[in-house]
Structures are given as C-alpha cells and as structure tokens.
C-alpha cells in the first residue's frame, strides 16, 4: 500500500519528461506521423551491467528510441510530397503535431482528473486498504456508504462504541477521507499535466522564430543532432519560464499540498489498521524517536557542561 514521496515527485517530473518525445517529434514538418516500427532500443543491453550504470543505459535506450523515431519520420516526410518549404509552412504543420501531442496529454490529464472526481476509483495506490476494509467489513464501501449502515451508525453510535466498534467507524471515516484526498491529488496532478502540455505546445513557436533568425542570416541546420540542439535550447528556456511563472509555482504548490494530504490520509488508514492488529504505529515509533532524540540532546548538553572546563583544548602536543 505504501506510496513513496518519490512516486509523487516522479509524477511531476514525468509530466515534463514523459511528454518530451511527443513534442520533440513535432519538429517533423508535415505533421506527426503514426508511430512506426522503432529500433530495438534494448538490443545492446547485455546481462549484468554494473548497477551504477543501469539508469544510464535505460536513459540511452529512451533517447535512442526518440532519436530513431525523429530520424525515420524526417526521412519519410522529407522524401514525400508533404514537405514544408518555408518556416511558415513548417510552423503550421508542426503546430498541428504539437497540438495533437498537447491534446493527448490534456486528455490524459482530464482522464486522471475525471477518475478522481467521479469517484469511480479514487483509491489509486491505496487500493489495498480499500480491499482490506472490504474484507474486514463486507458491505461497507466507504465511497458509497450503505444507507442502512449509515442509519445504524447514527442511531447506535454510543452502543457500537460500547461494543468496541469505534475503530471500525474510525477506519471507515479515514478511508473516506483517503478517497477524497486521492481524488484531489489526481485533480491537482491533472492540472499540472495540462499546464505542462500548454508549455510544450509553445515551444514550436520558439523553434520557428529561431529558424527564421537562422534563415535571415543565411545559416542552415545540416544535421538532426543540430536540429535537436536548437529545439532543446528553445524548449529549455520555455520550460524554465513556465516553471518559474506564477501559474507554474501555484500549480506545483497545489500538487505538493494535495499529495501531502493524500499521503497523510494513507498514513491515518495504516495507523488505524495497525492499532486494530496490535502493531506499533508509525506515529508511536516517531514519538519514541522524538523522545530518544530529545534525550540525546539533554545528554549532549550535560556532556558539554562537564567538558566545559577542559575547553579550549591544549595548544601543544597531539599530532600533525
């Protein structure tokens, strides 16, 4: 059930990185071709590379795939009749491709938001908690509480508490809170995705402007790598401006807030389950850690007080 903070951070980063290849391919004049056969990016993976280089090899595979797609698309389009001959024509064609990539990402974001808001399954990675809850109390669906159980709950709360059922009610409440928090997290993530999609979409205009500058100076792009470098320079500026913008900062803060709340809600569910199972909770362990840390501080202060008379140390002897 545990979802690490890294997963939340990865989702934000993936919004940028995952979208890159699609917009990268928008550089191909004549529109974004269908995804064709790509080179087998993993063919050169040999068994047992050093763990320290595995992430590099994986990243190279992604890069190779993206570059291979760009090159083959370029060759196909430039070899056909749909080639753009002016920056304006290229811009028009590339805008269409970028728009499609943007639409895909926006649709993904909307789907994510819808999934959260519709309550169809806002549990996400917390699904095991939901399943555990259902196993524990069949018929109790925290997303759609049964009217009978709701009524019983209201009428016989005190009696239920007397029979020791308070934890199960607390668990239901915590699960409801988790469901809402997960939905909010997905919505915040979707908002951020949509923002990133708009940002990448603007890169095409920047690339066109650079191409015009080059054309005006009589310079040209003679290799795909040079084209990628030009694109990256424009995309880099665009990404930085977007991330540092008021909207970018507001959306990322909203996501951090929502993800933190969802994480806290998961912690609460786990805490109740742990108590039900007589397992020490993280909060209890944290409290023990806090007390240990405080005791260490007290010990340190005492040691400093005792050692105080010997400071500063002698200035002679010792070793170089």
């Amino acid at each position: 059930m545990a979802v690490s903070a890294a997963d939340d951070a990865a989702a934000l980063y993936a919004a940028w990185l995952g979208a890159l290849p699609g917009f990268f391919r928008a550089m191909v004049p004549g529109g974004m071709p269908e995804r064709g056969a790509t080179t087998d990016s993993h063919e050169w993976h040999t068994a047992g590379p050093h763990p320290a280089v595995r992430p590099v090899l994986d990243a190279m595979a992604v890069a190779q795939q993206a570059f291979g797609q760009l090159a083959t698309d370029y060759a196909r389009v430039l070899g056909g009749e749909a080639s753009a001959r002016t920056v304006e024509a290229w811009l028009e064609a590339s805008r269409g491709a970028a728009q499609k990539a943007q639409d895909d990402l926006t649709a993904l974001a909307a789907a994510a938001a819808g999934r959260g808001q519709s309550g169809v399954d806002g549990w996400g990675a917390a699904a095991p908690a939901r399943d555990f809850l259902r196993a524990l109390a069949p018929g109790l669906d925290p997303r759609a509480p049964h009217p009978v159980t709701e009524g019983l709950d209201r009428t016989f709360t005190a009696l239920a508490d007397a029979f020791g059922l308070a934890p199960s009610r607390a668990l239901v409440d915590a699960c409801r809170e988790l469901s809402v928090a997960e939905a909010d997290r997905l919505a915040a993530q979707a908002g951020y995705f949509a923002f990133v999609a708009r940002t990448w979409g603007r890169v095409v205009d920047g690339v066109a402007a650079r191409l015009r500058e080059l054309g005006a100076r009589g310079e040209s792009i003679d290799s795909l790598l040079a084209l990628v470098r030009l694109w990256a320079g424009v995309a880099d500026r665009s990404a930085h401006e977007a991330m540092q913008s008021e909207e970018g900062l507001r959306l990322s803060a909203a996501y951090v807030r929502a993800a933190t709340r969802a994480h806290g809600s998961r912690n609460r569910v786990v805490e109740i389950l742990s108590e039900l199972c007589n397992v020490p909770t993280q909060a209890q362990l944290d409290e023990a850690y806090r007390e240990i840390q405080e005791l260490k501080r007290r010990l340190r202060r005492l040691e400093r007080r005792v050692d105080g008379t010997s400071r500063p140390a002698a200035t002679a002897g010792g070793e170089p």
Binding site: A9, P49, A52, L225, R229, L249, T315
Partner: protein, 379 residues
C-alpha cells in the same frame, strides 16, 4: 524540384533545414552504431573503473550515521591547524573527490593542507527529528572537538559547501573560539537575495520554496518524516527538465567514443543517483526559517535556543561563489560580508556552476590554490 529543396521561391522565410532523407537515415545509423558501441562499453565497466571518492582516507570518529574521515596527507608535515570540510545533506560528500584528476580534496592535499571531511551518512526514519541544531551543535561540534584534541589545537579551519556552508556559518557564530578561519563555498546566506533579480533558469528552488505556505512545509514533514533522497533528487531534476533529457541524447552521443569523458559523465551520474534521505526537521527549518523567512542573514535564526548572530563571526572569512550558479543565485551569497563581525572578509568568484565549482576544469585551477593560499596567509 525535390521535396527537401527548401530554397524554392515562395511566400515566407525559406526553411533553413538542409537535411536529406538519406542524410537523416545515415545520421541515425551512425548514432545508433555509436550508442551501441557506447552501451556495450558501459555495460562492461567494472567497479574499479566506476569508483568515485578514491582518495585514501581513514575513519577517525563516528557517531550514529555520521563519520569523520581524515584524508592521508600528501606531505610529511601538513599545514596546521587542519581543515574540516562539511558538505550538504542533499548529496554525498564524494562530490569533492569525484575522480583522481578532478578531485577538490586531492588538490587541497596538494596544497599541503591537512584535510578532514564529515560524512553525514544516510539518515533513516529514526533521524527524522534531527534539526539543524543537532548537526551544528552536535555532530559538527563533536568533529571539531575530536580534531582539536587529536592535533592539540584550540581551533581549526572550517570549510562549508552549500548547505554545509550554512551549517559552518552557524557553527562559527555559535562557537567562534573554535574556528580559526571560515571558508564558505557556494553557500546561500541571503535566501531572499534573488528577489527583484529573478532570472530565467536560476533560483527555482528559492521561488518554489516561497510558493509553499508554512503549514504546507509542516504537513510535508509530518506526512513523510524524512524526505526520501529520490524526491530530493527529483527536485533537482525538475530544475532542468529539458537538459536532463538532452544530456542522454546530444551530450552523451558526443562523448561516447571518448573513454575519459565517458567516465567523467558516468562518475557524475553515479554521484547524482546517490541521494540520502533528508531529516524532516532539518527540511522544515531549511524551508521555513531560511528559504521563507530568511532568518540567517538577519541574525534571527535560533538553534537550540541560541541566536545565530553573524556579528560573532569575527574570524577571517573567504566566501567563494560560482558565477554561473543556478541553484544558489549569486545574489544570495555575494555581498554578505557586511553582516559578519569580521574585518577580514574576502570574496572569490569562480567560473562555472554550482557543482562545476568543484569538478569543472577552469574552477579546479583556481579554487584549491586560492583556498590554500588564503588559509596559509592567515595561520
């Protein structure tokens, strides 16, 4: 006229792309061949070839997850008192000794200095309550005490890097009698120095931290305990989403056939991937007290109930900043001398970025010799 003849007359600017289909496919084949060769070479690399932080050193003290190392001196009688280096918590100390040829610590040793390094280790959930005060008045003070006793000196040279520079600044203010000279490198001092001087691509961490509410930071600390190292790493990746994509395309392709440069790249990647978890309480203080409330430069920061008064920093101070630093904008560190109590304050600008200060070719030629000379002139 061929479809790729972009010089044809017509409306608008001719598209200045002169890549034929044959050339595109030829280039792809060349790049694939280079990637293939490179990948096979990378996959065959051994631990010896990938090893970082190889300067000989000995562990001389430890407490909890913290270790104190003494690098083996390069000369028979190294300069005294020793230099103690404190790195940041957000990365591992190995960055100062990434490779033998571009090792900041080896260059300091080459200056005849006696170098110690505190390794903050890998904090776990049990360390979530560690605050900046615990690092400054606890571990760092213990290290200073150990070195002073070992060498029979009353004070030593303290060198802080980035977040470690903040720790050493706090230490120097709280324990000035223990610090002979203070060297700060790429250290944020005025966390609001970038305000009104925002520039694209720089200072994102400042903006991001200030975009959060104080209660957001508290909630993050409460929910996550320790901030996972991978999340800290992602925060740095987020600062350059395009560059972190293109470095595996345009950059890596260019250096795959160059063994030396390839190993440089991989050593850096290895260091980047090794991010320790960040104690929640330190993170809370770091973001709220420093990034948001800018208490350090105003001498309002309190550690363990004591105010960090920069006026108490009366020892000589050398403040080194990187001219192209986008993590710690120059405006956040330069010009802080007037806040210190010392009359001997020096600033040194080095070329390159935040990490380039310690591993970049140009900066390497300047940094260690300048620090060595500065310290030796103040013994």
């Amino acid at each position: 006229m061929s479809a790729y003849d972009n010089t044809a007359p017509g409306a608008g600017t001719p598209l200045p792309i002169r890549i034929t289909p044959e050339a595109a496919l030829r280039e792809l084949a060349e790049i694939n061949a280079r990637l293939g060769r490179g990948a096979r070479r990378i996959a065959a690399l051994t631990e010896d070839e990938l090893a970082i932080a190889t300067a000989p050193k000995d562990e001389v003290w430890r407490s909890d997850m913290v270790r104190l190392y003494r690098y083996r001196p390069a000369v028979a009688e190294p300069v005294q008192p020793p230099v103690l280096i404190a790195y940041a918590l957000v990365g591992r100390y190995q960055m100062i000794d990434l490779e033998a040829e571009r090792s900041f610590v080896r260059k300091l040793l080459g200056q005849g200095l006696d170098v110690y390094m505190v390794d903050w280790g890998l904090p776990k959930r049990a360390q979530r309550w560690l605050g900046i005060g615990d690092y400054v008045n606890g571990y760092l003070d213990d290290c200073v005490e150990h070195i002073c006793e070992r060498h029979g000196v009353a004070s030593l040279n303290l060198l802080g890097i980035c977040q470690g520079g903040v720790f050493t600044t706090c230490y120097a203010a709280l324990h000035p009698e223990r610090v002979k000279n203070l060297v700060l490198t790429v250290t944020p001092l005025d966390f609001h120095g970038d305000r009104g001087r925002e520039e694209s691509g720089a200072g994102y961490m400042n903006l991001w931290a200030r975009s959060l509410a104080g209660e957001d930071v508290d909630a993050v600390s409460e929910a996550f305990g320790c901030m996972p190292g991978t999340m800290v790493g992602f925060a740095f990746l987020m600062m350059n989403p395009v560059g972190n994509f293109t470095k595996y395309t345009t950059e890596l392709v260019d250096l795959l056939d160059d063994e030396r440069r390839l190993l440089n790249f991989l050593h850096m990647e290895r260091w980047i991937a090794d991010r320790p978890d960040h104690p929640g309480e330190v993170m809370r203080q770091w973001l709220k007290d420093l990034y948001q409330d800018n208490k350090l430069i105003r001498s309002e920061l309190e550690l363990d109930g004591k105010r960090v008064d920069l006026a108490r920093i009366t020892m000589p101070v050398l403040n080194v900043y990187a001219e192209g630093d986008v993590i710690i904008p120059v405006a956040c560190t330069r010009g802080a001398g007037e806040r210190f109590g010392t009359g001997d304050y020096t600033e040194l600008a080095v070329p390159g970025g935040h990490i380039g200060t310690f591993v970049g070719g140009k900066a390497q030629k300047i940094l260690a010799p300048a620090i060595g000379d500065w310290i030796k002139a103040r013994l």
